[in-house]
Amino acid sequence: MSVTYIDAIREAQEKLLREDPRVFLYGQDIATFGGAFKATKGLAEQFPGRVFDAPISEDAMIGLAVGAAIEGMRPIVEMQFADFSSLAFNQLVNQAATHFYRTGMPIPITVRLPSGGTPGSGPFHSQSMEGIYAQYPGLVVLTPATVSDAYHMLIDGVALDDPVIFCEHKFLYRWLKAQSINGDHLPIGQARIIRPGKHATVVAYSAMVHEAVRAADRLQQDGWEIEVVDLRSVKPLDLDTILASVARTGRLLAVGEAFPWGGVTAEVVSRVCEEGFHLLDAPPQRLNARDTPVPYHPKLWAAHRPTPESICEALRKLLTF
C-alpha cells in the first residue's frame, strides 16, 4: 500500500481538521468538489462547516484568512495554482507578512501553492513562486520534495504562528509515492542530505531534488559521487548544512525550477560565496529554468526547466574545472 505526495497533503489536512478546532480550509472548488487536484477530497463531508468554497477572489481570500487568524483561527488557504497567488500578493506580502513586526500579533495562516510545471500546463499554471515570497520579510516558505515531508511539513507549518507559504509541487502529486507517510520528521528550517557524496554538492528543493538525484545516479556510473542537499525550506535557509556539504566537496551547483533572475539559487550561491568562499575549489554554479514564460508544449517545457541531462552537463563542467 503506497502513499502519494497528494495523499500526504490530504492526510495532513485531515489530521489538522480532526485535532485542531482552529483549523479551517478555504479555497476555490475545495468543498464538495474536493479541489482541482483533489487535495481536499471528502474533507467537506467529513468535517461539516470547516471546508469552504471561496469566490474567485484571491486577494480577498487571503484578507479573510488574515482576519480569521487575528481572531484566533488557523486557516489553510488553497490557491488553485501558485500562479494565481500573484492576485493575492498584496494581502500576502503587505498584510500577512508585515503584521507581526508592526503590531506584535503573528498571523498563523498557511497558504498552499500548487507549484511548478507539468507537461502542457503553459505559462499560467506552471510557475514557481518561492523566491518571490522568500524575498519578503515575515514569511516562512516551505518546499517539500518527499511524501513524508509533504505530510509533516504541512502539519508543522500550520503549527507555526507565522504565515507559511507552502509550495507543493504538482508534478510530484501523483508521480511520487512512498511506502508510508512517516519519515525522519526533521524540523522546519533544517535541510537534508538526501544522497551523500564527495565530489560535488547539488543544492535543490521540491521536484528538482528528484532530477538532481537522477543526475547523480548517472554520474555515479562514471565514478563521480555527488552529494544532494534537499533544502526542504527555502526560508529559513539552512546555510549550515549547505556549508558543511560544500566543505566536504569543494564544489557547488544550485538547482531550481524558478526563473533565473535572482531567486533561491542565487541566494544559495551568494551566501556560500560570502561565508564559504575558502571552501570552494571551483566557481559555484546555478541552474534554473530559462528566462522566458513557461512554455505550453511538452517538448518546449522539458527543455525549459532543468533536467537530469542539463544537471549532468552542469556537473561535468563543475567537476572538471
Binding site: 484578507g63 487575528i70 498584510q95 503584521h99 507581526f100 508543522d156 528550517g189
Partner: protein, 341 residues
C-alpha cells in the same frame, strides 16, 4: 428622547457622545497639524477634518469589546469613539517606543488588533476582507450573534479590486458588516468624475446584493440616523450594508498638501461646510447640549490632547541597537526534539 427621522429615536446621550469624539479628534488633529508644521513629526500627517461626523457616528454605534472596527486614513474621530486612547495616536505620530507600533509603523497605520481594531495598511480596500475574516472566525467559533464589523474607505478605494472582492465575499457569506464610503469628492487630487462613472456610488450596493444608504456626511443628525440604522440592520442579520456619505475633506490629502486643486465653488458649496460647526448648532438648537457645555468640553479636550502630546514627547524613541530585527515570531532553528514530538 423625541421622535426622529426614519423612526430612529434621537438619543441625546448617543449624540453627545458622538460629538465628544468629533470635537476631541478635531482638537487633536489641529494640534498634530501644528506639530507637523513645526517639524516635530517625521513622515506624513493625515487628517479627518470634515469627516468627523461620519467617523465618530460609526465608532459610537459600534460596541468596543464586541464589534470590530478597521479605521482608515480619516478616522481619528471614529477611533476615539471606539475607545482608542489619545496617547496611542500621539505616541505613534511622535515616534515613542511605547506606542502600539513602537516606531515600526507611523501615523494612521496604527491599530490594536487584540481589541478588535486592526492596523490599516496603505493599500486601499485591503481592510474590507480582513474585517470579513474576523467576523467569519466568530461564526466558526459560534460567537457571531449580535456582532458587527465595520470599516471606512474613501471614494478612491471603491475603484480597487480589494474593495470589490471584499464586499462581494462579505455578501456571499452574508456577514454582519458595514462599509462606509466617505465620498469626499477627491482621491488625493483626483476628482470623482475621473474615479467612477456611475451617478452615485450607492448604486453599487445593489450590484453586490447588499444594503445601501446615502447620507449627508456634514450633518450629524443625518449621520446618526442613517449610520445607526445601517449598523442595526447588520447586527440583526441583514448582511453587509454599504453607506455612502457625501462630504468634503477640509484639508489636503495630508498636511504636505494644500488641496489647491479643490475648486472654490466646491469649498463654498453645501458640502464645504464644517460638520463640527453644524453639529454644535444642531446640539444647541435641539436642546441636546448648551453652548457653555460645549465650551467646557473644548477646554477639557484641549487639556487632554496637550497631556497626550506632552507625555509622548517625553518618551524615548525606539533604539536601533536594541531593536529585535526579526519579522517572524518563530525563532529558528527549531530544535529537532520539538519537531519530533
Amino acid at each position: 428622547m423625541q421622535p426622529f427621522a426614519d423612526g430612529v429615536v434621537m438619543n441625546h446621550d448617543f449624540l453627545r457622545s458622538v460629538f465628544h469624539s468629533m470635537l476631541k479628534a478635531r482638537i487633536l488633529e489641529n494640534k498634530l497639524s501644528s506639530l507637523y508644521k513645526a517639524g516635530k513629526i517625521v513622515g506624513g500627517v493625515y487628517l479627518g477634518r470634515g469627516q468627523e461626523a461620519v467617523s465618530a457616528t460609526l465608532g459610537t454605534a459600534l460596541i468596543q469589546g464586541t464589534d470590530f472596527f478597521a479605521p482608515l486614513i480619516r478616522d481619528q474621530a471614529g477611533r476615539t469613539a471606539f475607545g482608542e486612547p489619545l496617547i496611542d495616536c500621539t505616541r505613534t505620530y511622535l515616534g515613542s517606543a511605547l506606542g502600539p507600533m513602537r516606531g515600526r509603523d507611523g501615523n494612521i497605520h496604527r491599530g490594536r488588533p487584540e481589541m478588535g481594531m486592526p492596523a490599516m495598511i496603505s493599500h486601499l480596500g485591503a481592510q474590507v476582507p480582513v474585517v470579513a475574516g474576523m467576523l467569519f472566525a466568530k461564526r466558526l467559533q459560534g460567537t457571531l450573534n449580535g456582532r458587527v464589523g465595520a470599516t471606512c474607505i474613501g471614494d478612491g478605494a471603491t475603484s480597487t479590486g480589494a474593495f470589490h472582492e471584499g464586499l462581494n465575499l462579505a455578501a456571499v457569506e452574508h456577514l454582519p458588516m458595514v462599509v462606509i464610503v466617505g465620498n469626499n469628492q477627491f482621491a488625493y487630487s483626483t476628482p470623482n468624475h475621473r474615479q467612477f462613472a456611475c451617478a452615485d456610488l450607492v448604486e453599487k450596493a445593489r450590484g453586490y446584493g447588499v444594503g445601501g444608504f446615502s447620507v449627508d456626511g456634514t450633518d450629524l443628525l443625518a449621520c446618526a440616523s442613517v449610520i445607526s440604522e445601517a449598523v442595526r440592520r447588520a447586527r440583526e442579520g441583514g448582511g453587509p450594508q454599504l453607506v455612502v456619505a457625501r462630504l468634503l475633506r477640509l484639508s489636503g490629502h495630508g498636511e504636505h498638501d494644500d488641496g489647491s486643486y479643490v475648486p472654490t465653488e466646491i469649498k463654498s458649496g453645501h458640502y464645504g461646510r464644517d460638520c463640527v460647526e453644524v453639529a454644535m448648532r444642531q446640539l444647541v438648537e435641539n436642546g441636546i447640549a448648551t453652548v457653555d457645555e460645549i465650551l467646557a468640553w473644548q477646554d477639557q479636550f484641549a487639556e487632554e490632547v496637550q497631556r497626550a502630546v506632552a507625555q509622548a514627547q517625553q518618551e524615548a524613541p525606539p533604539d536601533p541597537y536594541q531593536e529585535d530585527w526579526t519579522a517572524l515570531s518563530t525563532r529558528f532553528p527549531i530544535p529537532q526534539t520539538c519537531a519530533a514530538q
